[in-house]
Symmetry: C2
Subunit: 474 residues, 2 copies
């Protein structure tokens, strides 16, 4: 087996497994933990996971990654391998004993996966002894940030397809360009949340129960004496499941040969286009192959799909890769995990920092989403989101005589026990589709979307001003 | 333990481990493999791993990831978990038996890690029965592409520091924004290859024997009654190892408090700046803390470092995060793995495809690097790279009376056995530094670098033209 212990020329793949997951953290988390421990300082704290700004051209972010957060919280532990490394690095034995018995005892509230979220709204809040809450930071940011980015990119491609009045299938073809293996896995999962039909990545199919699709590579075609032989050999074995890659030499000629081969084998084969003027070629090819599936790959993203459909390209499916899996035009989300509440003298008090340009709203929060009925809009199930209210947790936010809007955060852990069952992936995708359609259409634009209104509640605004004034005074 | 088998609400982290690594592949690879097997078609083939275009503003790419390739080749296998999934997906038993006994028997040639490489030059070539070579595609692209991207981004930041006439330390702080856990691990490794001093990611430190660094977070400061108490509690425990984050409330005041606390504890503490006008603040803070280390974070990349140093900012180290770990301005490399040679009637013959705009050079290759002596340039050890020649493997490329340049590809596997010991990470970083300095300075510019000359040998050019004409004729 590939060791993670390799040194001096012993090749090391560098897996992250349950055995070393506890070390997937920034050193300062452990330094602080030992410091909290050494100072006998372990107040309860609330940490809020949120972003301050939307990535370019995004009107919202679609949340994803909560299932991984749950898995981390339920299983994070420190065994002999991790402890022995930390001992070598100079961490003290009594602290390591404490780590060895690490268990999460706190509370987690979160937006379910597949929820549209806006700047400053908590995607997740952890309330726990600071020793526990602090330890989770790096992993939570790493997992939720990336999956949310990809789900958000994926939903844009689904939007592009829908806007073209179409229902082409979308399959993630990006694993080879993903940033490592974990990115490949999580991108496949997040893509489904955003509206993709499946992935080409077999391990993601196995692990997350996602439909897996594939065609053939140019190397298949080149490995035979000619294109006809290569298509014929494939179709003989795979029959109607065959999708033949027709652009190795001449695309239109390739499609003709594919048609011949299909006839010979009495099979309904599909074709894939992967280069050239895809719009023109897809039209030419569709005249040859008729109703057979045409799968289009090569640099696909929401803009290329839009353009392809607007210019009358013919396709039954698209296979976006790099753009999806790296969220190419927005490869990062400025997701942060900030302390917003701390226990002092037995009571939780709101906290914030002032660092220029990086002010955070203090306190544990509530995210309330207000909607109105809108008749005749079947897309949105007759409802449209109007405004969010970011409020303090427990604050009464009125809307006329009623409590305004619907709370979006759900409780996931209570006293360290999970009280929430993560839905199946198809249910999450369904939720995402439903909620996306309730957003104001102008917030869903693929370019320069309108800003969705998020009000700051009176209570939160007053508290923020108060605290800010107080901190600036000292 | 976190299962990878979760379904119906059983939370699943989605690890990639040796147990499921065989499935980290695009479905079409397995479909083709079963097809090759079913057709009893297993010619030897050469696959070449290369990119066609440099990412924006890059004059070269620095290779990284070969150690992971070696680990994959030496350990890739299919056990019961993977086979049972494939069986359920309809793969046939005799094919699965073949997979179960998978072993690599071929040859691998590669550029050692830390080598500058240019478009169309193979970073790696695999010559093996097509069944074996094909199977490696997805993993090799995934690992080498990402690590090379990050090593290339890292070296740019090191250049920025050196251009400022400085030797600040550079530490990878990006794990929280990395695309998943594997990206965090491999980015830390690749950053060292590119000239970083270490990482904040503890698991990368453990796995790859990289120095690990850290400071403290705002939450540490906020968790105490005031900044002074927080600094004092930390310094009491960590003494000279303390790096105090001074921007939670007011940076200059924070630095004063840090100075006081250092005096009280008779410790030499460092400070970290993470927000605001970093140049101005660093100057102010340096007047307060004197020679103490000043560590600057917050959105650092090669451009910000350059600007910071040009404007007279004072720092002993930088902690780039997001920009490094996502290779933010160039999050993907168009790395491909193409069949360039195939066995026909017992002989290896060159192969290429014609797909518009995506022509590949046929045949197994040689990368020859020509250099000239350059006196008085200590940076470059008295040598400067002049031109590369991309040639056919075994082709005699003359330079006057001599064989031109030095072969850059080394043999890594021969008949399935490894004949190459991967160097230690510090040796790779040393190699990278040496070689980078031999490049023409204009190719190392951080903006619009000059194109390094790569000649196509006569033999390769003739073969390409010949094959192209032949293919276009048919």
């Amino acid at each position: 087996m590939v060791g993670n212990e390799g040194e001096n020329g012993e090749p090391n793949f560098g897996y992250v497994t349950p055995e070393n997951l506890g070390l997937f953290t920034d050193l300062y988390e452990l330094t602080m933990l030992q410091g909290y421990h050494g100072a006998n300082h372990n107040p309860r704290a609330t940490f809020s996971l949120f972003f301050r700004e939307l990535p370019p051209d995004r009107g919202y972010v679609l949340t994803a990654g909560l299932e991984q957060v749950i898995a981390v919280i339920e299983t994070l532990s420190f065994g002999e391998r991790t402890l022995s490394y930390l001992r070598k690095r100079g961490f003290k034995n009594d602290f390591l004993d404490r780590l060895a018995s690490f268990e999460f005892t706190g509370e987690v509230r979160a937006l379910p996966e597949g929820t549209p979220v806006f700047p400053n709204e908590p995607i997740l809040e952890v309330t726990a002894p600071i020793f526990e809450g602090q330890l989770l930071e790096t992993l939570l940011l790493n997992q939720v940030g990336f999956e949310s980015l990809v789900a958000t990119k994926a939903v844009r491609m689904r939007e592009a397809v829908e806007r073209g009045g179409n229902d082409q299938s979308l399959v993630d073809f990006g694993s080879r360009r993903a940033h490592g293996t974990d990115a490949g896995m999580k991108a496949a999962r997040a893509a489904v949340i955003g509206g993709f039909d499946g992935t080409s990545l077999v391990s993601a199919g196995e692990t997350f129960d996602i439909p897996v699709y594939g065609t053939m590579a140019h190397s298949w075609v080149q490995s035979f004496a000619d294109e006809r032989e290569s298509f014929s050999t494939f179709t003989e074995q795979y029959g109607d499941d065959s999708v033949l890659l027709v652009d190795t030499y001449d695309t239109v000629e390739g499609a003709r040969i594919a048609g011949d081969v299909a006839d010979e084998h009495d099979a309904e084969v599909g074709v894939r286009l992967d280069s050239g003027d895809l719009v023109a070629l897809s039209k030419d090819v569709s005249e040859i192959v008729g109703d057979s599936p045409i799968f289009v790959t090569s640099g696909m993203d929401e803009y290329k799909i839009t353009d392809f459909l607007e210019r009358g390209g013919v396709a039954t499916g698209f296979g976006p890769g790099t753009a999806l899996t790296t969220s190419e035009d927005a490869p990062s989300l400025d997701l942060v995990y900030k302390l917003t509440e701390i226990e002092r003298d037995g009571e939780m008090v709101p906290s914030m920092k002032l660092s220029s340009g990086k002010v955070t709203y203090p306190g544990a929060k509530s995210v309330r989403r207000k909607k109105r009925e809108e008749e005749g809009d079947s897309d949105a199930n007759g409802e449209r989101y109007e405004t969010d209210v970011l409020a303090l947790r427990g604050e009464y936010v009125s809307d006329g005589d009623n409590l305004a809007g619907e709370e979006q955060l759900v409780t996931v852990f209570e006293n360290g026990s999970r009280v929430y069952d993560p839905p199946r992936l198809d249910a999450i995708a369904h939720r995402a589709r439903e909620r996306r359609r309730k957003l104001p259409p102008e917030c869903r634009s693929l370019r320069d979307p309108a800003k969705y209104p998020v009000e700051i509640s009176d209570g939160l605004r007053e508290l923020t001003n108060e605290l800010q004034a107080e901190l600036e005074k000292t």
